[in-house]
Point group: C2
Chain length 366, copies 2
């Protein structure tokens, strides 16, 4: 496999020294920043994640900060999810769409104050979209990328580890809520969230200077918990049906196609830029949608869309796939046309290594 | 060094099969797409580039297509360079800026017709900016990413190789002009341009399906020219002072700081979004600017900004650096404060491997 070449353009994170010391073996690039992909091995990391606790450098989840009198108005322009009842201290998963309803990102919005939000983004330069919308609509807001880098603590022992570093208060943080908790005299937003199904937290590290001190504090406190450096795990996230923007859906797809219709309040999300287009989609329903897919046989790494075939016709595509040790099959995420999306439908998937039998599942594995 | 993990999100290009067959050893990610960084080795590739001819997969230079009655107006909104005299068939290097004059990209604009442009972008999702500007200002334009992938042919034998595939007409294409030339019955824009100082062309391959046929045709025609797969070469581009957006300048910098003031016609570029801010910059001049920097001693790969120091004070930073065999020094690009930017100024650069002597040069090496 080819190495990744170093450059300033592919940014290091505040935690990269820790990641390197932990022996990272693979990277991807996410928002023009390094994101580790495995340490011991994808399978070894997966087993450890499900049993212990891991610290993840997810600084590449960059923040788009929106602040000012028009902040709430701008936020509602960006997403079809109704934000009127969002509380300060709450996180919302918010599909963001263009004027045609095409997805531009699927970030988590973090409400810090009535006039102050962070948008914790997936892999696209959403900052440029938000800045230009604010400019074009002459809104009174500041839009910028602050020096805030998320660090995730994931796994069944995450509560215990976090309580040792941030105090018992972390245990009472509810899902997709955050509390402002002190570390070395600075208050950090600590949210119960993260890109795994094993439970845990994301710490919005406000200021690169305390990145490694926090990393080190977590590892010191977690020695007897078998804490390790980890990262979003390909197998575990597919088992859990956690979508990846750029992999499983792109600007070509509506939120409804991505199975995110429940986050689209098209009747009440007044002001959303893509509302007209999505009202139409909501009325007619999508003609293709994300499904859990099982695949038999040996498969290579999924580095391109794999056509899903039925009777010699293309009826969809697989965009994420991996061998699952726990479920003893290849777990996959695909977009399937409505004619073939019912659970139990038998399909074939065209991988670079050949055709493989596939089946539409009724739900993801966990 | 860590490997780069495959995924659909980090897109393959129409030429990736050729790149892989040629034995690519390193990649970076550019516009969420694979960009090779070396084949034999950075030094071996460099020597070959300066002597023969190379074919480069630069599909990651994605196009932002702007088409419609307001296309020219929108293009002028994006850049401080005056576009009023730009001809159909011409390419312009155009810094693009936000409302504060901060650089968002430094693409090449390609004028296909009075109402039809491609913006061949550096590494940022400029598409999102352009789409939102068009939306916010209610312009009558279509903005999208077409299936167009540049393939570069670079090196002293580039004219000869291109003439064999596209005919003698290529020889008369002037610098930063393009001609529409046929390949397998399809007309492709062939421009005299490219990210090296060795001369050559960029072919805007319109349709992924003819990517590998063109790749193969070039290799077949160039056998006796010692044609090889190549890529933008770190050493050669620093020697030549070719800037890299994201490395040498970012959204924090104005075009004037990047030494691109000559492309800013702030008095005549009426309508440019950043014009007010840049009029101020043009009046006062930048307080820091890009300079060629030589560095003595052994240096590591430049994967983060290296502080430039004078008398214990930070006076700038180096963002690209490499050992140059031809000039027998380390060649580098840095941003230096006006107090220390005169040629001959002796500085120190703080690399992760220690302090190294550095000197401001009066110009780049070639």
């Amino acid at each position: 496999m080819a190495v990744i070449s170093p450059s300033r353009r592919v940014r290091r994170t505040p935690f990269t020294p820790g990641v390197e010391a932990a022996g990272v073996k693979g990277y991807t690039v996410y928002n023009r920043m390094l994101l580790p992909t495995f340490f011991e091995g994808v399978v070894e990391d997966y087993r450890h994640l499900k049993s212990h606790v891991q610290v993840w450098d997810v600084a590449c989840e960059r923040q788009v900060e929106v602040r000012g009198p028009d902040a709430a108005r701008l936020m509602q322009m960006l997403t079809p999810r109704d934000l009127t009842r969002m509380d300060v201290g709450q996180c919302y998963y918010v599909p963001m769409v263009d004027e045609t309803g095409g997805m531009l990102n699927d970030p988590v919005a973090v409400k810090l104050a009535e006039d102050h939000y962070w948008i914790s983004i997936a892999d696209s330069d959403l900052l440029l979209w938000v800045k230009a919308v604010a400019l074009g609509y002459r809104l009174d807001v500041l839009v910028d990328e602050p020096d805030v880098s998320p660090l995730a603590v994931q796994g069944p022992k995450a509560d215990e580890l976090m309580a040792r570093v941030f105090g018992e208060a972390v245990r009472s943080i509810r899902f997709f809520r955050f509390a402002m908790l002190p570390f070395e005299g600075r208050y950090l937003a600590v949210a119960r969230s993260g890109y795994s199904k094993q439970g845990g937290f994301e710490i919005y590290v406000n200021g690169s200077d305390i990145g490694m001190p926090l990393w080190d504090a977590l590892f010191k406190a977690g020695e007897d918990l078998n804490v390790r450096a980890g990262c979003p795990n390909l197998i575990e996230r597919i088992e859990g049906g956690l979508l990846s923007y750029g992999n499983d859906m792109t600007r070509d797809n509506t939120p409804h196609e991505a199975g995110l219709g429940k986050f689209c309040n098209t009747t009440s999300a007044i002001g959303c830029i893509g509302r007209d287009a999505l009202l139409r989609v909501a009325k007619e329903g999508p003609v293709q949608q994300i499904r859990a897919i099982s695949i038999d046989g040996e498969i290579p790494a999924c580095d391109r869309p794999w056509p899903l075939m039925a009777g010699g016709k293309k009826v969809g595509q697989v965009t994420s796939a991996a061998r699952s040790p726990d479920f003893n099959t290849n777990v996959a995420i695909g977009m399937v046309r409505m004619t073939h999306w019912d659970a139990g439908t038998k399909l074939e998937v065209e991988t670079p290594a050949g055709m493989r039998p596939a089946m539409v599942q009724d739900k993801f594995w966990i």
